[in-house]
């Protein structure tokens, strides 16, 4: 085993070592993961940012994706949408840059009234649907009403419905849409960049799930729920044309089968689920495939359920936040592929990020517990195989918190029902989210009192009021300060236990250049096969 590690470290990989490593990786992945802890630094040459270069025009990109279920659909508003297709087929009014600023998409420009109550979007007039019909404001009104319709059960409805109803959206002209909000929201436009907000043709709710008619850079060739599908370049796309001729999607349920397909050259990359760290080592040993990292793409919080007896006291929550060494936890859980978060749920790349957090301080942790009337604290922490990082994270926290008189019992729950029986039900568990939500959506959707995705059952009127004040503030600098105030309130209150943001590891063919991924979307325009 030592010899294998040495070979990997020295990058002197012969064919035999590759096979040997591959066999070991498949048969004893956990063993390999255990042995290669600390190997992160040694293999950084192999695992890094995606390659950039000149892409040749043309080519067919083959993507393997895990099949969500046979209920998956191309309706972007649905929580069951096949999200790899969305960015290829559709456009939104606006989109987010990697730093969180808004860019025009179907809307050429937008304005808000000084009270942030009325928003007017001016649409492009040169856009047509894949079936040739012109895109107009009626399509936008229809899409928004479809998202807000309770029958759609769109995750975005919970974000928008507190201040928007279907009847308050109007289309005065064919290229103008007006949103009349019921309460001020200066961040409203950013909420329309969500991955549920792709615009669909008017009247298409019943058919869009299979037809996939959008305005995007690719049009649908075929789609099978939980099965294969394909999209082809839309020659009349209004924006920059994509490099690729077409994209073929295949659904492969088994993680190992997906990696095998990649190694055997049957697919060019694996979407959605990142590689676990053991498989990543195996993939880097290949001569045809490489592993790229997407910086801070996943947020790994450990929600402390505020409504539970264990965590109703903010002092206990703060004690936990101070009790572990995040550098150590980052190393053990994801082998340093990520960034320490200091319990701030906002990723450092976000424009409104506040560089503040609760640091590792075991003495402070003990004194906080004392103030809460405890000498020590014991709780179960739930984990599952749902994501490969969850269990290492729980174990790392257990070990790191022990010297602070905090005992965590790691309980492994079934991955099948993890999000129905454990999430939002057990006092402490490991989970993850994709990053890339606009700040207003992140704080309101996941931490506001009563929100349906509030996984900590966090409830703090001051925090909610600060968010409301931020929404009502049109001045950008002042609004930024208010969102930063909200972050500080949340962090100081022990509202979030966030050890780190992790990079996503993407298995990619070495022929691919300009791969980029942010939040819930892929850059389908620039990606292509390297020109030779």
């Amino acid at each position: 085993m030592d010899r294998l590690l040495d070979t990997v470290k020295g990058h002197q990989l012969s064919r035999r070592n590759v096979i040997f490593g591959a066999a070991l990786g498949v048969i004893v992945p956990t063993l390999l993961a255990g042995c290669s802890t600390g190997g992160g630094g040694a293999t950084t040459n192999a695992i890094g940012a995606p390659r950039t270069g000149t892409a040749a025009k043309g080519g067919i990109l083959r993507i393997a994706r895990p099949p969500a279920s046979k209920a998956e659909t191309l309706d972007p508003a649905s929580s069951l949408s096949a999200y790899e297709y969305l960015g290829a087929l559709y456009n939104r009014l606006v989109k987010l840059s990697t730093s969180g600023s808004l860019l025009p998409d179907l809307a050429a420009s937008w304005q808000q009234t000084p009270d942030a109550m009325t928003w007017t979007f001016t649409l492009r007039s040169d856009v047509s649907w894949h079936d040739g019909k012109p895109f107009t404001s009626a399509d936008v009104v229809y899409t928004m009403q479809h998202i807000l319709d309770p029958a759609t059960a769109s995750p975005q409805a919970g974000v928008l419905s507190p201040f928007l109803t279907g009847s308050s959206i109007s289309a005065p002209t064919a290229t103008t849409v007006v949103f009349a909000l019921s309460s001020p929201n200066a961040e409203f436009a950013s909420l329309l960049a969500g991955y549920n907000c792709y615009i669909i043709p008017a009247g298409s709710a019943a058919t869009i799930g299979a037809s996939g008619i959008g305005t995007g850079p690719f049009s649908l060739t075929s789609f099978t729920a939980a099965g294969p599908g394909a999209v082809a370049r839309n020659e009349s796309y209004f924006g920059d044309k994509p490099m690729l001729d077409s994209i073929e999607f295949s659904s492969i349920a088994d993680t190992q089968a997906r990696v095998n397909a990649l190694l055997a050259g049957q697919v060019d990359f694996i979407a959605q689920t990142n590689l676990d760290f053991a498989s990543a080592k195996l993939v880097t040993a290949s001569t045809t495939v490489t592993v790229s990292t997407i910086k801070n793409a996943q947020w790994y919080p450990v929600p402390m359920l505020n409504s539970s007896a264990e965590f109703s006291n903010p002092l206990v929550r703060q004690a936990l936040a101070h009790a572990y060494n995040p550098t150590e936890v980052l190393q053990l859980s994801v082998q340093n592929y990520g960034t320490v978060a200091k319990n701030n749920p906002v990723p450092p790349t976000e424009a409104y990020y506040l560089d503040y957090g609760l640091d590792y301080d075991p003495d402070k942790s003990k004194s906080l517990l004392k103030q809460a009337g405890m000498d020590s604290f014991t709780s179960d922490i739930y984990t599952s195989t749902y994501d490969p990082v969850l269990t290492p994270l729980a174990l790392a926290l257990k070990g790191s918190m022990a010297p602070s008189n905090i005992t965590l019992n790691v309980v492994n729950a079934s991955a099948d029902s993890y999000y129905t029986d454990v999430w939002m039900k057990k006092p402490l568990m490991a989970t993850y989210w994709y990053t890339g939500r606009p700040i207003d959506q992140l704080l309101n959707q996941i931490f506001r009192s009563g929100s349906s995705y509030n996984e900590t059952a966090y409830s703090n009127p001051t925090f909610d009021q600060t968010l409301d004040a931020a929404r009502a503030t049109v001045d950008d600098a002042k609004r930024k300060t208010l969102y930063q105030d909200a972050q500080k309130i949340l962090i100081d209150d022990g509202g979030s236990l966030t050890p780190f943001f992790s990079d996503r590891l993407v298995g990619l063919s070495k022929k691919i250049v300009n791969y980029d991924e942010h939040g819930f979307e892929f850059d389908y325009l620039k990606i292509g096969f390297e020109a030779v």
């Binding site: 349920a253 029902s417 999000y419």
Partner: protein
């Protein structure tokens, strides 16, 4: 004879029915239902309630079972809770794909196993026997998913000759599937034939030592006649039950192997349906699996009767 068969068939129907009841109950006991499984991390109480209503999961379990059973007796196995397509069509498509794999595995596997088992038995303790027995022992002790994984590493990744997975999914045509069938079939044959080889070898050795074979040898019969007329029929008898059990094992083994090769058959569909708690699909697959088990055992018994003179004449003797 007819009475015997009739009784066995009636018993089989009861067995299949019991299997469905058992599986239905087991799925009810599993945490979560189709609604929560489909929604996953989006399973907010409102979304779950809406979806449960749409899927009819708000009905009591017993009512749902009997409405399914009523339909099933008329050949209507309902619609999938997840894809909203006819379960019969969905399972049928997967069944065709699995049959392709299963038929190749059974035909090649059993023929190979019988021949190798006989060779090993006849050449007892010589090098062909040692080689065959060793390989069979490995096949018995190594699980099919390891065999499958090693095959992929060797013949898809190191030497990229066979496809590692089926990319086309459930829409794949038979022509598209054929190159992909090889590796899963080899993996299944390897494990399937191991037990049959061992059993066949033992029986051949036992029968060869028996007095009627010695008599046949002393009468100066040709080797071919001794082997095919005297040894083979008798040696086949105990092997038949092992064959039946192994063919029935295929029903389970195929689940794992299909998953590794992303082969769009019954196994992959089964795993998907259990994960999403898609009861109608699971129930139909259960019925089919139970039928395969029952039919295999029934056939083994019938062939034993046909091969064994003592059993064959039992009725006239009475």
């Amino acid at each position: 004879m007819t009475l015997l068969i009739a009784r066995r068939v009636a018993l089989s129907v009861v067995t299949v029915l019991l299997a469905t009841v058992l599986v239905f109950t087991a799925i009810q006991l599993l945490p979560g239902d189709a609604a929560t499984q489909i929604l996953g991390q989006n399973a907010t109480p409102d979304a779950v309630a809406t979806l449960r209503g749409q899927l009819g999961l708000d009905q009591p379990a017993i009512a749902r079972f009997f409405s399914w059973l009523g339909g099933a007796l008329h050949g209507d196995f309902g619609t999938s809770l997840v894809s909203h397509q006819s379960v019969g069509a969905e399972v049928g498509r997967a069944l065709v794909n699995t049959s392709l794999l299963a038929v190749i595995t059974i035909v090649v596997g059993i023929t190979l196993a019988l021949v190798l088992g006989m060779v090993a038995g006849l050449l007892r303790d010589k090098w062909p026997d040692v080689a065959i027995s060793t390989i069979a022992l490995v096949g018995m002790s190594v699980p099919e998913f390891v065999v499958a994984t090693v095959l992929v590493l060797l013949f898809s990744i190191t030497i990229p000759f066979f496809p590692a997975v089926v990319v086309a999914g459930q829409n794949a045509t038979i022509a598209e599937l054929l190159p992909s069938v090889t590796l899963p079939a080899v993996a299944l044959i390897f494990v399937l034939s191991a037990y049959i080889i061992r059993m066949m070898r033992t029986s051949v050795i036992d029968v060869s030592d028996s007095e009627f074979v010695r008599t046949a040898v002393l009468k100066g019969n040709s080797l071919g006649r001794i082997v095919f007329k005297h040894i083979l029929p008798s040696a086949m008898l105990p092997t038949l039950n092992v064959i039946a059990m192994n063919v029935a094992w295929l029903v389970g083994g195929v689940v794992v192997v299909e998953s590794i090769f992303n082969y769009p058959g019954i196994g992959t569909l089964m795993i998907q349906s259990v994960q999403t708690r898609d009861l109608p699909v699971i129930l139909l697959i259960t019925v089919l699996s139970a039928v395969v088990f029952v039919v295999c055992n029934l056939l083994a018994d019938l062939i034993s009767i046909a091969l064994n003179p003592r059993l064959r004449h039992s009725r006239s003797a009475r």
